[in-house]
């Protein structure tokens, strides 16, 4: 499965079940209403999720997106409408702190961004934005720091009320 297939799903061109590419990461289908209606809030929420909201930049839904933020594959089963809406409009900096991005610049000038996994006196381990597990010797590192602020933005004033509600409807459908 790739992003284009998500978009084609958006357009109602493919049935609801999608599979991984032969060599890609296995993934289950994103659940969808079987009758695709453009007016469906879930459908329009998916459009916001994959489009304007750019949520896949940080989040994963069943094999799509990025591993850097919390996995939202079953967020609908774990959260409530009010809870999801609040997370979109007033993201909690405390809870998202663990997902802060980390950046390492090595002495040879290369720069890496991702999730800091582990560190000790001599080394640092990271999952970078390209999906690589990387290990650095501290002696090779020129600079390192958390990228501020925490990556989860507030969507207040970035999405319309209707877009937020559609996005919430889509997220609630992920069970």
């Amino acid at each position: 499965m790739n992003r284009s297939s998500v978009f084609s799903l958006l357009l109602g061109l493919v049935p609801c079940v999608l599979f991984a590419q032969a060599n890609g990461r296995p993934s289950a289908a994103i659940p969808q209403a079987s009758s695709v209606k453009v007016s469906d809030p879930v459908e329009r929420g998916l459009a916001v999720f994959t489009g304007k909201g750019a949520c896949l930049s940080c989040h994963e839904v069943r094999g799509h997106g990025s591993r850097l933020g919390p996995n939202l594959s079953e967020i609908g089963a774990r959260s409530t409408r009010a809870g999801i809406r609040n997370s979109l409009l007033e993201p909690n900096p405390q809870s998202s702190a663990q997902y802060r991005l980390y950046q390492i610049v090595t002495k040879d000038g290369a720069s890496y961004t991702g999730k800091l996994l582990n560190q000790d006196l001599l080394s640092l381990q990271m999952l970078d934005t390209k999906g690589r597990l990387l290990s650095f010797k501290r002696s090779d590192v020129l600079e390192k720091k958390f990228v501020l602020p925490p990556p989860m933005p507030s969507y207040r004033n970035k999405l319309s009320d209707e877009e937020v509600e559609n996005l919430v409807a889509f997220l609630l459908s992920l069970k």
Partner: protein
């Protein structure tokens, strides 16, 4: 500015600043990284506008910027292009990651010896690596690079996988991803497997499989689990069989194409064994081959009554795969109950057999049964090694196989034809073979009320630890156990679901507390190098793992040894339960190097390289030890780009 900035900021936050063009450009880039939307042209126009109107020397303004030093600490601003940074952030990983292990990579695993992609190292399962940086001339310079201490007290029998510098292994039931060069942890998957699973021989796991960016774990509680190889998070988990019926899993799965294939454990608990394949993407069972022929199956007439229902036949070690023939080779274990065949009259197909299956459908293509109607627990699960060699002057695709019953077999792997069998340990059960390969039994193989002495012992001439076939020496290496058992008088036992079902009798004890195993002090384990075409022993290297050292690791010491690894520099690595990790000259059996690691060596040694440096890994006790050359030495002996191992085609004379 309105479109790109005012969506998030009050205007005076921007207009109140006075910055140089460079600083404004950097600021805009930073905002883009935080989610501001705009094209390259938008950015240019915006920076021009800001610099002109709110610049450091803008008309009618006073610079508020002091002569601050460059913001050195802000790597975001000074590193590389912020646009590049943003692009990275929006790269979805449903595009396979650069390290994804495609099925094509698995097919050609031998061409990337820096990695170890399957339990057996390659589909041919020869436990041979074309790495040659560590060699007889410098093996004395091997030093310990790192140790991974498992927090589990269960036996460490898991062969790690290595993929592009990441080493995946087990910590008891858990899975860990480590930096293969330093041993530092990337992630751990804490597997909450049921605690009440029954195992005949310890709660062990032999290792993992990988496809794409997904790791597959055969969990002890008979579940197949898929994990994200990058994070260790759960992708899916499916039940393979009922723990309450005596099933368990100890096997390292094997990925073929898009399927994850495994064999079940539980042969001592009256299970009906099977080999099954699961869709790698979903965990759905794709096919299921019962290793016990039931009603309607060919071979069902080899089971009296309904004995097939609890006929055993586990398949608890990873098989091999020939992509050209599209055949999967997998060994099947003992029938149940283990020690009393009276309740299961017949040959008991397909127990104690080597199977060739179609990996797409699970359909049986051929089989060879090494021990029909076995009553000595001689699982035939040992690793089948696939070799193309000359047989009686003609090229032939063969399967080399050192069975627990003490015989080295050569089978035609296209047809299953029996070509040869020769004992590689002392044995007294076999009086020869029919032309078709059916064994003829001696009197010693028959049970008597008094019990009898049997060679090899019940643990076998060898066991699950891997053999190796070197593409340079063309020798087959096996850790051979010369030992004897006092076989039991048959006992009768009622079957009870989930309970041990072995019909284990008791023989008169001679000495020691273990009547099943001979305690003679001249019994030992040895590496034996066999000529595949004759089965003749070319050389032998005795390990110290005799039964006299049983105190080293409880019953495990009876099993003999670790597996065997050979390399393109004619080195052979192995070890025993006394704790010695040894490097031997694969050409002549000469000991070149040895380290005592202070615990029983159980797993199959494996090798890999990171950044041009070769490592060799083996367990001892419950820890994983990783060796490499001293730094200066490694640099001096750094190999050229790894060569494809093409020597196999030259065949074996």
């Amino acid at each position: 500015m309105e479109r790109m900035c005012i969506r998030c900021h009050q205007a005076d936050v921007i207009t109140g600043q006075r910055l140089s063009r460079e600083r404004w450009a950097a600021k805009v880039d930073q905002m883009i990284a935080y989610g501001a939307q705009g094209s390259d042209d938008d950015v240019k126009v915006l920076v021009d506008y800001l610099a002109q109107n709110y610049g450091k020397s803008g008309a009618g303004t006073t610079s508020v910027e002091t002569a601050a030093p460059p913001v050195r600490s802000n790597v975001l601003q000074e590193g590389r292009s912020v646009r590049q940074f943003q692009k990275e952030l929006t790269t979805p990983y449903d595009v396979p990651s650069p390290t994804a292990v495609t099925d094509r990579r698995l097919l050609h695993a031998e061409q990337e010896p820096e990695n170890w992609l399957t339990f057996n190292g390659s589909y041919r399962s020869n436990h041979y690596s074309s790495l040659d940086q560590i060699k007889p001339e410098n093996i004395k310079d091997l030093e310990l690079k790192w140790v991974f201490q498992s927090r589990s007290l269960d036996a460490y029998e898991s062969t790690p996988l290595v993929v592009n510098g990441v080493l995946y292994t087990m910590e008891g039931d858990n899975v860990v991803a480590l930096d293969a060069a330093t041993g530092r942890l990337f992630w751990i998957y804490r597997n909450s497997a049921a605690a009440d699973v029954r195992f005949c021989c310890g709660r062990v796991n032999r290792g993992l499989a990988i496809l794409g960016d997904t790791i597959f774990l055969a969990s002890p509680d008979a579940r197949l689990i898929a994990l994200d190889a990058k994070t260790g998070s759960l992708v899916w988990s499916v039940e393979v069989a009922k723990v309450s019926s005596g099933y368990s899993l100890t096997v390292a799965p094997l990925v073929v194409k898009n399927k994850v294939i495994l064999g079940i454990s539980g042969g001592e608990y009256g299970v009906r064994g099977f080999i099954a394949a699961y869709d790698a993407a979903t965990g759905n069972e794709e096919w299921h081959f019962n290793t016990i022929a039931g009603p309607g199956d060919p071979g069902s007439n080899t089971w009296g009554g309904d004995s097939w229902k609890r006929g055993g036949g586990p398949a608890w070690l990873t098989g091999s795969y020939d992509p050209d023939l599209n055949l999967l080779y997998w060994g099947v274990g003992n029938p149940g109950p283990d020690f009393n065949g009276d309740v299961r009259p017949g040959d008991n197909l397909y127990t104690c057999s080597m199977l060739a299956l179609d990996p797409d459908t699970g359909k049986l293509k051929w089989y060879y049964q090494a021990n029909p109607h076995n009553e000595t627990d001689w699982d035939a699960i040992q690793v089948p090694v696939l070799v193309d060699m000359k047989w009686e002057g003609k090229p032939r695709k063969v399967l080399l196989w050192a069975d627990r019953n003490g015989f080295f077999y050569v089978l035609d792997r296209v047809t299953g034809q029996f070509l040869m069998a020769k004992a590689f340990v002392k044995q007294n059960w076999n009086a020869g073979f029919t032309k078709e390969g059916r064994p003829l039994l001696t009197e010693q193989a028959q049970r008597t009320k008094e019990g009898a002495t049997l060679f090899p012992d019940l643990q076998g001439g060898t066991n699950w630890f891997s053999p190796s076939y070197s593409q340079r020496t063309h020798l087959f290496y096996v850790n051979a156990r010369d030992n004897q058992s006092y076989v039991f008088i048959k006992a009768n036992q009622e079957y009870e679901e989930g309970a041990e079902y072995k019909s284990e009798g008791r023989a008169p004890r001679t000495k020691g507390s273990r009547p099943t195993v001979g305690m003679d002090e001249d019994k030992f384990t040895a590496v034996r190098a066999l000529e595949p075409s004759t089965g003749q022993v070319k050389w032998e290297f005795r390990l110290d793992s005799g039964v006299g050292l049983a105190t080293y690791h409880d019953y495990k010491a009876e099993h003999g040894a670790a597996g065997i690894l050979t390399t393109a520099s004619d080195l052979l690595f192995t070890g025993g339960h006394e704790g010695n990790f040894v490097g031997i000259d694969a050409r002549n059996g000469r000991l070149l190097w040895s380290r005592n690691l202070g615990g029983a060596l159980l797993m199959n040694p494996m090798t890999y390289s990171v950044a041009g440096r070769q490592y060799v890994a083996v367990n001892a006790g419950t820890s994983l030890f990783v060796f490499g050359l001293r730094d200066a030495d490694a640099i001096r002996h750094r190999s050229e780009a790894p060569k494809a191992s093409a020597t196999e085609a030259a065949g074996n004379e």
